[in-house]
Symmetry: C2
Subunit: 666 residues, 2 copies
């Protein structure tokens, strides 16, 4: 692993290992021009991986991507940026290598978009460090990247249970009712998420006392049911006189500033807000300490949001726009003036220009957010994670973030943001799961059923059939959309069987995640990362290898009763309707059309491997799951197989492969 420093990069905190420093002009593979443009010539067969969860294929070739974290509400093919920046690429062609561009500012990755064989990386102002790493395999490259950027965060065991969420649970009563409904349906559950509704006027580190009159008691009540509440925390702090968090933030100067050092006021959910300056170590520590308000009440799980950061408008900009709009009022508007005026207002949210308007204080100097933009969410969630480590030193806590950067995987999980109830986004979820794992975000997932838009029952069920394998296993939807808790639908038995199957798989999923984290590996792997010499496997982006043992092939189309599956080796299918109701059959290496009814899950066990399951028929949460008595689903019934199980009780912060694994012979 070698590093090449261009200009004077601002440290990002992404890297934890030392790499040999070489002269920038000696960087291999790339030709450099203009001090900030790196060009690599791809041969026809080169595939390019990396960039974290993003739009389009796992193989990123053929599009242009930009690293500039954005609260993007529409995850469609022509977008170039989403919430996070994972500025690395793994090149898989005649040569195999990885490159990580360590910069907190803008970068673009033109991967054969402008010219089919040109991979061109353009890095904002030319101040960055490029790390080049090599390995014989793609998994080897992933391990190298992880060596450089650190090992993965894991949450407590209960965070692998089922999580029900919705923007719009207004109060205790709503949350109790969710639990009651799932209890009545006999579906196990571990968590209920609390979206922005729970706060007092959307103020971080408050709880609305009308909606939750005795919140600590409510937390205990839920705790007795083994239900963890997972509140959201947003990046903006309401600018409200008298609010202690705001007042302390202002008093200590821990806020982001305009060039003239006055506070930068912006609007997000609470209305007028300031951003804590997460780049300032004291401010970051102070912010992390604020979580005490909730940990003291028994909360152990958090969901950090709006940290790209999302900005509805800045107050300076709004004033300017309102003044301009006044000018249009008495004009006889033609169409172009009308579009202009409409653009003025509609382009006020998520303006890239805001990143120039506010500043961080680093070593006493103001630096515009533009230059540090992509690590804002990273620093927020790192501050939170470090705060939680101080506050709850003896247990793992749950934390996941919308905005991410390379290195945040050491501190937190992630979810893939505001997707929609689209079949297309179920497919996207499958690809993003592999992409997040590549970056080290093993604990991650998408909103099952889709966040925006209205979910149909078949979509919710197919999504669940994939989601049961996802470490972060959350059903979530937006205000105003159709209810999509599983008990709202018709086929309750099928939904119950699928969620219970997740709990039957829990010992396996937990073990595979922990082993993956210990080994700097990926839990969800594209076929191309496991069967590197298989040309066909390279193009399969709708199947995944889970851990080491199984291949899954979710059905991601409406009105289908089966799908094509490519098997890179002979495997045994378990077509499961529940943990006890399944049929099984061996399939040869190659292409197969395989039936899969709406209530079925296709699991293929690899030769020499085993899928251990537990009896989850009567569990009501992860608390009841038996991690000891496991039943094997084998490739070959008559073959003895070994399974290495990792189990540590699920709360210790210690990661120790030797200590916490046991060999089971089946």
């Amino acid at each position: 692993m070698k590093k090449y420093v261009f200009g004077t990069p601002i440290p990002t905190g992404a890297v934890v290992a030392e790499a040999e420093q070489c002269r920038a002009e000696d960087i291999p593979y790339f030709s450099v021009s203009d001090g900030n443009v790196l060009n690599f010539k791809m041969d026809n067969d080169t595939a390019v991986y990396g960039l974290g969860p993003n739009v389009r294929g796992i193989n990123k070739r053929g599009w242009i991507y930009e690293a500039f974290n954005t609260d993007e509400v529409l995850h469609v093919e022509d977008r170039r940026r989403l919430y996070g920046s994972h500025t690395y690429l793994l090149i898989d062609g005649a040569v195999k290598f990885g490159v990580f561009i360590d910069t907190a500012g803008f970068a673009s990755f033109d991967i054969g978009y402008t010219k089919s064989d040109d991979l061109t990386v353009t890095v904002g102002d030319g101040n960055f460090t490029a790390y080049i790493f090599e390995a014989d395999t793609l998994t080897g490259l992933v391990k190298e990247l992880r060596k450089l950027t650190g090992s993965s965060y894991v949450p407590p065991l209960w965070a692998f249970g089922f999580n029900q969420s919705r923007w719009g649970y207004k109060n205790e009563g709503d949350i109790r009712s969710v639990l009651e409904n799932y209890r009545r349906m006999d579906v196990p559950i571990d968590m209920i998420t609390m979206d922005i509704d729970y706060m007092d006027h959307y103020k971080d580190f408050t709880v609305d006392e009308e909606k939750f009159p005795k919140f600590p008691e409510f937390v205990s009540e839920m705790d007795k049911e083994h239900i963890h509440l997972v509140p959201i925390i947003d990046a903006g702090i309401k600018a409200e006189e008298g609010d202690p968090v705001f007042e302390e933030c202002m008093e200590k100067g821990y806020y982001c500033k305009k060039a003239d050092k006055t506070p930068f006021y912006l609007a997000v959910w609470p209305g007028k807000c300031v951003f804590p300056d997460f780049m300032n170590d004291d401010a970051a520590r102070w912010f992390g300490d604020q979580y005490k308000f909730l940990t003291d009440m028994g909360i152990r799980g958090f969901w950090n949001d709006m940290n790209e950061p999302s900005i509805f408008y800045s107050f300076d900009r709004l004033k300017m726009v309102m003044d301009k709009i006044g000018d249009y009022k008495d004009k006889d508007l033609d169409v172009s003036a009308f579009w202009e005026m409409q653009a003025l207002l509609s382009k006020i949210s998520q303006r890239e220009e805001y990143t120039k308007d506010f500043h961080h204080t680093v070593d006493g100097k103001l630096i515009s957010n533009e230059k540090l933009h992509n690590i804002f969410g990273f620093k927020m969630s790192k501050a939170a994670a470090e705060g939680l480590e101080r506050l709850v030193p003896n247990e793992r806590t749950l934390i996941f973030s919308r905005s991410t950067f390379v290195g945040l995987h050491r501190y937190a999980g992630m979810w893939y943001g505001d997707n929609r109830s689209w079949w297309e986004h179920l497919k996207l979820n499958v690809r993003q799961a592999a992409e997040a794992n590549m970056s080290g975000f093993i604990y991650s997932g998408a909103d099952i059923g889709g966040f925006g838009s209205n979910a149909t029952e078949d979509l919710a069920m197919r999504w669940l059939a994939f989601g049961i394998f996802s470490p972060l296993f959350r059903n979530h939807t937006a205000l105003g959309t159709r209810d999509q808790e599983f008990y709202r639908f018709e086929k309750l038995d099928d939904f119950r069987n699928l969620v219970r199957l997740r709990y039957a798989l829990l010992p396996f999923i937990y073990s595979e995640v922990m082993k993956t984290a210990c080994n700097d590996d990926m839990y969800f792997k594209p076929l191309s990362f496991v069967y590197e010499d298989d040309k066909r496997a390279k193009e399969v982006e709708d199947e995944l290898i889970v851990g080491d043992s199984i291949l899954i092939a979710p059905v991601c189309e409406q009105n289908r009763t089966g799908r094509y599956v490519y098997l890179p080796e002979k495997m045994r299918l378990y077509r499961m309707r529940s943990q006890t109701d399944y049929d099984t059959q061996v399939f040869e290496k190659g292409d197969h059309y395989i039936e899969c009814a709406l209530n079925e899950v296709l699991i293929f066990v690899r030769p020499g491997h085993v899928l251990p399951i537990t009896d989850a028929r009567s569990v009501s949460s992860s608390y009841d799951v038996d991690f000891d008595s496991l039943t094997p689903l084998k490739f070959d019934e008559n073959e003895r197989v070994e399974y290495i199980q990792y189990f540590d009780g699920g709360t210790t912060r210690e990661m120790n492969f030797e200590k916490f694994t046991r060999k089971i012979e089946f």
Copy 2:
């Protein structure tokens, strides 16, 4: 075929045949409630077809669709309405029947969205005619619908050539340059479309004299090159004193009116506009006559747009909004007031409420557009087609429309509106092609390469490989997007070979379209319409049967070198790189993974069938194509096969199967 009249429906003009009238309460299959709700219980295996080109699958089950024509810029899965209303369904389950809901107003089709086995049709105000038709096969149902609503329009032969378009060809020079570039690339071409840029301030029936100083001469110049110019005509007429079209429209009272009978002013591209009242027969005739301005200059092809109708804003609404916005100016805006204000302005375009604000004059009475909404585009394009028939009685002309209704297929073709350069929209195009054919719109197509967003070379090429089969064969893109004329890309030989392959297929495509039109059949058919007893075929929505002879299976994913193909019977593959460069192989009925490089097209010839091609290696337009000397691509080389070729010279308005077909023995 029977009809059931509910309430007092306003005639739409969709139906041309008489059907036996029965009592509304005797309608079979459906239970009726509230006078406007029809409910049918679907069994598990029922598939539902119809509704014309729309989002989601060919099998429409599992979503809710609305008939209310809308200029929708984002064709994503959760939309319920697009540009046209094709208010019929074909039910394919234990019972097989069709229902056409003849109404010009709002209707919704809940096809198992709210409850999985409920098909619920809700028809606006309860005034409609329901036609029920039956047949043993899906194709039989299509023929019944065609019997009811009339046979399909076909354009002249040259309209089956290649059409290059772009919003943004500013003048003669730009158009000449398109032609020169294609000539240099040696790619045949028949048409260049003229988007709104050609008009004088976007006024219908004008040509900008600065951009086209001698337009009639320019038309002749192009004509000598066998290039047909195809100008756009929009629904709105610029309200400009002194403009003869506007003045005559006002003088004669041929405009749409507010409730107080004053003109309804709205804005579209030209700025302040009125809509001609296409429901008024005199106004419609007058509008059709206006095409004379362009036919006199030699124009024979038209593209009718913005006829949902699209409304950027009404002048009354704009004034109201501007007044309200003034109120916000001095307020201290909180977030909800800000969203409110933003919504005020952003929801001003395409407001459903406008349909209540303007009225048509029918039999001397004002009727709000709301009640006639879905036939506005139909009536505009019908007026144009009838005008052209008067103006150019002895030749077929080209006309296609964005907004459509059942019955417009008698007068015009259609294109599927403003898609995007998305792989997802290439897939959508495949499905919509089948859906348009079901409705009788045989001459139809999508913008190849995609209208909005930036096309990549691989997408453009894969789209072309499907597009060469599309009767309307147009490359079109929006202002501000990446250039996507084929000569802009790198692999010129491959693009040339594909376009030339289209011309080699032209005798076949033309013949199949004409036979289809004569026989009230479909040119593009889903597999489920040809192999009705094949359960697997029912779920295949990414392959199509073209005419009678072939099955096509376009590759619709990025970075793929092949795809799965289901063959419902044994077929012979021709994997074509050009008309002379191909390999061939017989595949058995069943599932296959078939390689298909970026420059290849998969064509499967059915047993007993033949694909006749002509030598298009040196043609420069359809004018040069040899329709007589055809070479057969057969299923079985050693078998004698007959092909019925339809050829009529390509301009006559006479449709006559006996007169214009010949049997060829290969």
